[in-house]
């Protein structure tokens, strides 16, 4: 019990990390995109749980709503629109896949080396800053809301215009004419 209390977050992190990576590998390797979408969902949920470990409770909820509830359902709808009968005969990977994979892995190793050399200051010295408004202890949602509507109002409005444009664009693209 003491072991669990002391190492709970670490155990949770490793568990969720494994789930997220396995889900990601599923997306890339599974032949049927329907199964890939389900694998993607497990990754999204694991990442949402990881957000909570870093005091981003509001973002975790947004992740589940927008990714799990919105984007993934959109993907599933499009997959269901397509005829997947010919899928078993289709090649899964592009020509020259081993070479491409080698380049991707090399990029990963290079980034990993950079990461190993990096040192960061301040290791979560003041997590209360993520859950307080003007020094008063509130919730993460309140803190995000105040920051979003006070300091980032213009980007917020631009994002709404962007969503409108994307919506119109998607409708025009997918329209039958």
């Amino acid at each position: 019990m003491n072991f669990l209390l002391a190492h709970g977050p670490a155990i949770l992190f490793y568990l969720l990390a494994v789930v997220a990576v396995v889900g990601g590998l599923g997306v890339v390797t599974l032949r049927n995109p329907m199964y890939g979408a389900v694998a993607l969902l497990t990754t999204f949920l694991a990442v949402a749980a990881l957000f909570i470990l870093r005091h981003a409770e509001f973002l975790a909820a947004v992740q589940i709503f927008v990714y799990g509830g919105g984007i993934l359902v959109l993907f599933l709808f499009v997959i269901m629109l397509m005829n997947l009968q010919r899928l078993p005969q289709e090649e899964r990977y592009v020509e020259g896949a081993p070479f491409a994979l080698a380049v991707v892995v090399l990029l990963g190793v290079m980034l990993g080396v950079l990461l190993a050399a990096a040192r960061f200051l301040g290791a979560g010295s003041n997590p209360a800053a993520l859950t307080s408004v003007e020094g008063q202890v509130a919730g993460n949602t309140e803190a995000v809301a105040v920051s979003l509507y006070r300091n980032y109002l213009l980007p917020f409005e631009i994002a709404s215009i962007f969503l409108l444009v994307a919506m119109i664009g998607a409708v025009v693209l997918a329209r039958r004419d």
Binding site: P9, A17, G24, V27, V28, P33, T43, V47, L50, L53, R54, H55, A56, F58, L59, V62, Q63, V66, Y67, I71, L74, F75, V78, L81, M82, N83, R86, E90, E91, Y93, V94, A97, L101, V105, G108, L111, L115, F120, L121, G122, A123, S125, P127, A128, A129, L130, A143, S147, N151, P155, A159, F162, L163, V165, A166, G169, A170, L173, A174, R176
Partner: protein, 101 residues
């Protein structure tokens, strides 16, 4: 055992590389779009990790905007995919070789 930001960055790097491999390697364009979503998620994980590291909310705000852009990108990308499927009857990469690419 303490989970540091480096742990999160390594996980994020792993997810990003897996997503990149999916974008580069797969022929099915739906899977390619899903891999892009995976990469965006890895980036969000970075933002959240650094938000905690520096005790600054800006990272979380930026992650919200990333999610917004990801949603728009998915909508437009899937719209393009549906248009391609109407045109060619397939979402395979080989169906889109009009530019001889």
């Amino acid at each position: 055992m303490v989970i540091t930001t480096t742990h999160f960055l390594i996980l994020s790097l792993t997810l990003f590389v897996i997503g990149l491999a999916g974008v580069v390697l797969r022929r099915n364009l739906i899977t390619v779009l899903m891999s892009i979503e995976l990469m965006m998620n890895a980036v969000n994980l970075n933002f959240i990790a650094f938000s905690w590291q520096f005790s600054d909310l800006a990272g979380q705000i930026f992650a919200i905007f990333t999610i917004t852009v990801a949603a728009g990108e998915a909508a437009v990308g899937l719209g393009l995919l549906v248009a391609l499927y109407r045109l060619r009857g397939s979402v395979n990469l080989d169906a889109a070789t009009e530019l001889e690419g």
